[in-house]
Structures are given as structure tokens and as C-alpha cells.
Amino acid sequence: MTSLNSLILVCLAYVALLFLVAFVAERLAARGYGGWLRSPLVYTLSLSIYCTAWTFYGAVGSAARNGLEFVTIYLGPTLVMLGWWMGLRKLVRVGRSQRVSSIADLISARYGKSNLLASCVTVLAVIGVTPYIALQLQSITLSFQAFVDASDDPMGYAETGSALWVAVGLAVFAILFGTRNLDANERHHGVVTAIALEAVVKLVALLAVGIFVVWGLAGGIGPAMAQIDASAIGAWQTEGSRWAAITFLSAAAFVCLPRMFQVMVVEADDERHLRTAAWAFPAYLMLISLFVLPIAAVGLTLMPAGSNPDLFVLTLPLSNDREGLAMLSFIGGFSSATSMVIVAAMALSTMVSNHIVMPLWLALQGDGASVSGDVRHVVLLSRRISIAAIMGLGYLYHAAAGEGVALASIGLVAFAGIAQILPSLVGGLYWRGATRAGALAGLTVGFVVWIYTLLLPEIGGAILPAGLSEAGLFGLSWLSPGGLFGGTGVDPLVSSVVWSLGFNTVAFIAMSLLTFPSPLERLQGAQFVNVFEHSTGPRGWTGSIAQTEDLMIMSQRILGPDQAHALFAREAMRQGVRGSLPEPSPAFLQALERELGGSVGAATAHAMVGQIVGGASVSVQDLMAVADESAQLLEYSSQLEAKSAELSRTARQLREANDKLTQVSLQKDAFLGQVSHELRTPMTSIRAFSEILRDTTGLNDAEKSRYGAIIHGEALRLTRLLDDLLDLSVLESGQVSLNLGHGQLSDVLDQAASTALTGSDGNLRLRRSAEAEAIALHTDLDRLTQVFINLISNAQKYCEVDRPTLTISAREFGSMVTIDFVDNGAGIPEEAQAMVFEKFARVGGEKAGGAGLGLAICREIMQRLGGDIQYLRGQGGAAFRVSLPSRDAKGARRT
């Protein structure tokens, strides 16, 4: 008989072997040996942590109760593996290219690196997996118990004590080999190798027991089959709905369980291993389940009524005095339990530490930015404490729940809880429209429904108020946990799975449709959904210049080549680096981020720079894609801007043209009005007086001659006006031909003075200086004379003083000759000065009957001659300055 002591010794020896294997594997991997450690075989075997003590003991128990139903637990994963090309391949590729450390990390990364989401998944996982860990502890203590019961050793055995020690031992192992590296993404070769060994052990143990049972006890395959048919489980008894539900559930759990994610994605060395695992792992599962039914049937037949079917694997060999086989079986069960607990604790601790402890710690630190290198220790410590805490939780759960619950039911409850992650996971991998809010809503809804319909009724009977499970919430029977929405009579597990996952999915999709994702979420969404299009497998960014090059390429796409080159060259110069690529110093990165932020927004720029420099969680191709998108947007918007600028320019031009036309039209109106007025006024006098002469009888001779003189004068005025108008129109249209000639200024002035003063009764005195006027001119002398006549006549007309005097002073400086005409009159009022050169501008009353065109004509003439005429202010009287180019200058403008 095996004593309890020897059993413990065997356990310790086995654990020591595991330690040794793990240690050697770590050393080999560290030295670069051991390619076989990375073989597909090891990968496939490591997946076998799916098969826990629940499989080893519980499958037989389940088969003894429900027949072939247990096999669904393995059919689900089989189907997932068969569909690896469409599903797992993507999951592994995403997981590796994003360098995720856990399923919580993956979900969080997909939905914009949301820590809230990560902590939700973590809490869900802890609640879902803790009972599972308790289950493993329970299976170990039960198996101890089986040996104790079978032995005659009277030595006392404290059941709870053994569970505690087992928990402590497993925690130590997990801490030693699971938290060696800071980077949770690095492979734990030691642990994986030990798990692979355990996978072999449990398979061999179960096969050995099966072979013993079929050929040793039943007497061959045929009799074994007959025995099965004859047993209590001899007929098919599984409802279709339950068959489908559990198959689906196990498939979902296979993907979502933290420990499965750990070995399948995080510890994956090479995604090509999936190709082998696609058939090898289903084969493993098939072999594991092959003898379950025969063992159950034979156990039911041979073992006394009331023995625990969960322990047939142990008790059958024991009761047949096959101690060696029993020991092997015990070790197989022990293997199943330990491997699951170790990996689960590792995976959960990473999640708890990364998504709950570290954020809290950083928040408590206050200043997150000052955290430096010593965070390493904090991370490792928190991960180790998390492992201990999870094991402690599992132990407490085990101690509290006792042995009342069948192994299989706990396992299924845990599966249903973990499966709540599935909608967010699948949606995140295949649907770009999935948002963080959607994932949160789905998870929360599914989680709550799961707790209410499955977790509480199944394991928390004491927590629920009596009568709730029958009467339902608020006394509404359709809200009772077992029969939600009138599903009474349906299997509670099926009902719970349908409702929890159904509501979960609906909430997830609806919320995703209603909300708008953040830029990072959208970037990550594209990353995940299109992972095969822009990743050729994970690449690490090593070497700072490589980073700078990538930053450069990215910047070019966003800023344009010139600006990007200038920016980088400037920084390189500032750093004193030869060449155009600077070191990616923090200051430079910050500057670059700001620069990019101007183009694409701060959040995107932060994400882009952060991704290139801060690790390879996003491949460069993706950044390029985003950069291209941004560049196109920028280009488009700048085109739009250019177009709108052009439009507004055109509009402005049109407005200006319109203004000009309006102005011209107004000017034309005003001009016509003026001309009309100037013509009609003399004609009015002429008509009035001629009618008086014609119609009035008895006019005396004096009257007749006076009215005749008025008519004559007005007729002359009309003629003058017409002459001036014609003159002006010729000058303005530029059709005037200049008659250039040489002459002296004094001669021109002489002629003008004599013409202007002849025949007038004015007493205007001219003051001239002969020396100053000795200036040779080359211009149109007749036109110049006309200007001078106009000016002298004006003085004569408007200078109303006793002794009107006009001072004419000529000066030549530089290339210009100026001649000033200043009289001693009142001058022109300030407000009229600006107008004197305009057509029909008249100052004062209608004294001399001028049409107001004289000065306008003067200005036209002077401009034709290449000079000008201006009114001089502050000269006492009216003062005009005529300027024209001297003889040596280029001469008059010929037109």
C-alpha cells in the first residue's frame, strides 16, 4: 500500500523534475541552444493546458453522468483549430505584431489602449478563473483522499492543509519561472517546456489507465463496447441544444481563456506552428477523450454504488491493486492541475499587475512623468504579489465552497463567464466599426447576465435570497435566473449562454454603431482588421538611425519633402551631427510631434511618433498608410483653399470692375448733365432775348442793342464751350499730335501774355524776371502757350483786388523746368482746391462765363507734354505751378 508519505515524496520528486526541466530549458534557451524548444511539437503540447484536472478526472465523472456529452468540451477547440487559417492565424498575428501580453491587453489595444476596458476584462477573468483554480486544488486534495481511503495507513490527513501546501508550492513555481523577465511578451521557455512535459505525462497516464481498463478489465474493445451499451449510460441522452451550446462555449473559451491566450499567442514562437497544431492538437484531444467513456462505463459497473465517478481514473487501478498505474494516474492528474494553475496564475498576474496594480501605483505616485528605471522592480513585485493573491483567492474559494460542487459544472460556469469576451474579441478582429464603448457595453451586459443566470444559482446558492430562483426578480417569473424570458424547462446552462452572449453581442453592436471611435481606436482598428495587409510579421525597431529614417519618411508624407528635410537638417545641425539625420532625442521628438500635430492633430501625431519610437506595436506601413491619408486630406483641403481664394479674388475683381463701371457711369451722367447745363444756359438767354426782341413792341434802341449784345455774347460763349469740349476730347482720347519745336520760355510767356491781355479791359499787372525765363525748351510750344494763356486769363478773371498782380517765376532744377503763377487775390477756397482741375469745376460765381474746362484742358496738355500742373497752397493768392521736362531730358511723351 502506498503510504501518504511516499505519495508526498513522489509529488515532491515530480515537482523537482519540473523545476529541473524548466531550469535546464531556460539555460539552453539563454545560450541559444535548444531549437527543439521552439518546435511545433512543444507548441502543440503546451496548448494542452486546456486539458486540466477537470479533463483528467472530471471528464470521466461527466461521462458517468451524461454519457458522451463530455466530448463537446474537446470538439469546440477541435473546430477552432481546424479553422485556424481564418481565425487563430489572425489572432496570433495581431497578438505578435502588437506585442500584447494578455487577452486583456489585446482587447485594450484594439479599442484605443483603453485601460478601463483592460481592467474590466481582467476583473472578468479573475472572477471566471478563480473557481477554476479552486477546482484544480480540489482535484488534488480529492486524489490524495482517494489514496488515503484506499490505504490502511492510519496516519491523520488534514485535507485543507494539503490544499494550502499545494497552493503555496504552485505559487512558488509560478513566481520562480513565470516572472523571471520583465517583458511579459518574452517567451517563458522554462514554463512552456515544463508544460509540454506535463502534457505528455497526463496523456500517457490517461492512455495507460484506459488501456488497462479496456484490455485488462473489460477484455478487449468488443466487450468494452458491449459493457458501455449495457451500462446506465448505454443510450444517447444529450439534448441537441446542450450539445451545440457546450461545443460553442468550449470553442469560445478555448480562444478567450487567459491561460490559453498565454500559450497560444503570447508564448508563440512562430505562427507557422499553428499549421502543425491544426491537426496535432485535435489529435491530442481525441486521444485524451478516447478512453473516457469506457473508463466511466467500467467504473460504473465495477465500482460500488455511491463511489465518486470523478475519481474512477484513480480508484479503478487502486481497487485492482495496480499501485504503479494508480501512481502514474495520480501524477497525470497532478500534472493537469499544476500546469493549468501555473499558467493561469502567470497570465492572470500579468493582467492584474499591468491593468490594475500598475495604473493604481502610478496614480498614487502622483507625478507619472518622473517615473524612471526602478519601475522594473515595482512591476516584478506587483506581478509576484498578484500570483500569490490569485492563488490565495483560489484557495479561499476552495475552502469556502468545499466539495459540494461537481467538477464539471464549475468548469462550464467558468467557460460561460470567460466567453463574454468573445464578441469584443471577434468584433475587434473583423469589424473596424467596433468601438470601445461598444466593447464596454457588451462586456458589462454579458457579465451581469452571466452572474445572474449562472454564477449565482450554480455556486452561490447561499447568497441568493430564498425563492428568487423560482419566483424571479421583483417576483416576475420571466425574470427568474433559470427561466429568463419564459425559458423554463430549457437547460439553465443553454439558457444562460444564449441570453448572456446574445445581450452581450447586441449591446456591443448597438453601442458601436451609436458611438464614434477616437483616432487611436480607428488606427488600431485598421491595424487589427487588416493585419495581413500591412504587416509581414512582427518587426522590431532597433537602432536609432533606423528610427530617424522612419520618422523622416513619415514626416515627409505629412509635412512635404522640403519642410521635413529642413526640419531634420536644422535639428542635425543643432545636435552637431554629420549628415542630415539627427538622433531621435526627446527634445527633437517633442518638436517633431508638435510640427506634425499642426498637420494631423495632436493625438494622431502623438500616436504616430510614439509608435515609431516607442516600440513596434504598429508597423511602419500602417503609419505610412495613415500619413498618406492625412497627406491626401491636406492636399485636398489646400486645393479647396486655393480654389476659394481664387474665387474670392475673382469676386473682388468683379466687384472692382463693377464699382469702376458704376463710377464711370456716374461720371458720364454727371458730365452729360454738366455739358447739358453749360449748353442750355447760354441757349436759354439767347432764346429768351431773341423772343423778347421778336415779340415785344415798343423797345427803345438802347434796349434793342443791349439785348442784341447779350445774344451775341452768349453765342460766343457757346462757341467757346464747344471749342473747349472738342479740344478736351481730343486731348483725352490721346489723338492729339504734338508739334515739337525749340524755343525760349520767355518767348512763350510773351506771346501768352499778349494774347490773354489783348482786348480785355482788365488791369492785371504781370511781374516777370527776364533772366529767370532764359530757359531753352523743346516741346509743343503752341500747347504750352495755350496753358499759359489760360492761367493768365484766370488770374485776370478771378483776381478781385484793386491792383491785381500776377507774379510769374520760372526755375530750372535737375531735369525739370517749373513756372509758378501766383496772384495776389483771395485764392481758391481750401475745399475747392482738389476740384479745380476737374471738368466744369468753377470756383465762385459765373463771372466770366467760362465753362470750367480751362484748367482741365491745361492739366491734359501738361500731362501730354510729360509735365504737370498743380495748385500751390499757402502762396497768398491763387497759385499754380506748371512743370515740364527741360530740353536735356528725354523729352515729351510722344503719343
Binding site: L68, V80, M81, W236, Q237, R272, T276, T536, V626
Partner: protein, 109 residues
């Protein structure tokens, strides 16, 4: 195959083979699901009915035979995938080129 790109009309024999193997790999889980859903049609033995029942040995034989067949198919596909030069696990066609992401593109496939 993945949308958005025009594949050449005639593919190399090897590539053609590979694509058909991939088609098979995609179909396999559905075949598996159909096969393994068959037990849902079997009559369930209840204490109150004396109707026809499915002997457990038959049930077991069917399930394990189907299972074994699926594993065999998967193994054959795995070997074929390895032999057709599937050193890279990307979809045939997107190995050589990396197409930029279009923002409006939905699912990849």
C-alpha cells in the same frame, strides 16, 4: 481572395494549387461543424419514452470516426500547405506588395 486587387488571369500552377489548398482549409471547419452537429439529430433517451434510442457504442464510434477523419484531413492540408511553399503564412497575393490602407475599406475579406 482579398478584394481590391486584380489578380492575373492565369496563375502559376503552384500558386493555383496553393489557393485551392487554402480554399479547402477554409471549408474544413464548416465540414467539421456539420459532421459534429449530427448528434443533435439523434433521439434522446428519456425515462418516460420507450422510443428508439441511439446505442452509446454507435454514438461513440461515429463521433470518434468523424473526429479522426477531420484530423486526417487537417494533417493532409497542413502537409500540402507546407509543400506548396507556404513559408509565409500570408494570403497568396499579398505577399509581395503592401497596399496602403484605404479608410473606407471595410473588412479585408
Amino acid at each position: 481572395m482579398s478584394g481590391g486587387q486584380t489578380p492575373p488571369v492565369f496563375l502559376e500552377r503552384r500558386t493555383y494549387r496553393r489557393r485551392r489548398v487554402l480554399d479547402a482549409a477554409r471549408v474544413l471547419p464548416w465540414i467539421g461543424s456539420a459532421l459534429l452537429a449530427a448528434p443533435m439529430l439523434w433521439p434522446v433517451a428519456r425515462p418516460d419514452t420507450d422510443g428508439a434510442t441511439m446505442p452509446m457504442s454507435h454514438a461513440m464510434t461515429f463521433v470518434f470516426a468523424a473526429w479522426f477523419g477531420l484530423i486526417l484531413l487537417s494533417a493532409v492540408l497542413s502537409v500540402l500547405l507546407g509543400r506548396t511553399g507556404a513559408t509565409d503564412l500570408s494570403d497568396a497575393g499579398d505577399v509581395a506588395q503592401i497596399s496602403p490602407v484605404r479608410p473606407d475599406r471595410g473588412r479585408a475579406r
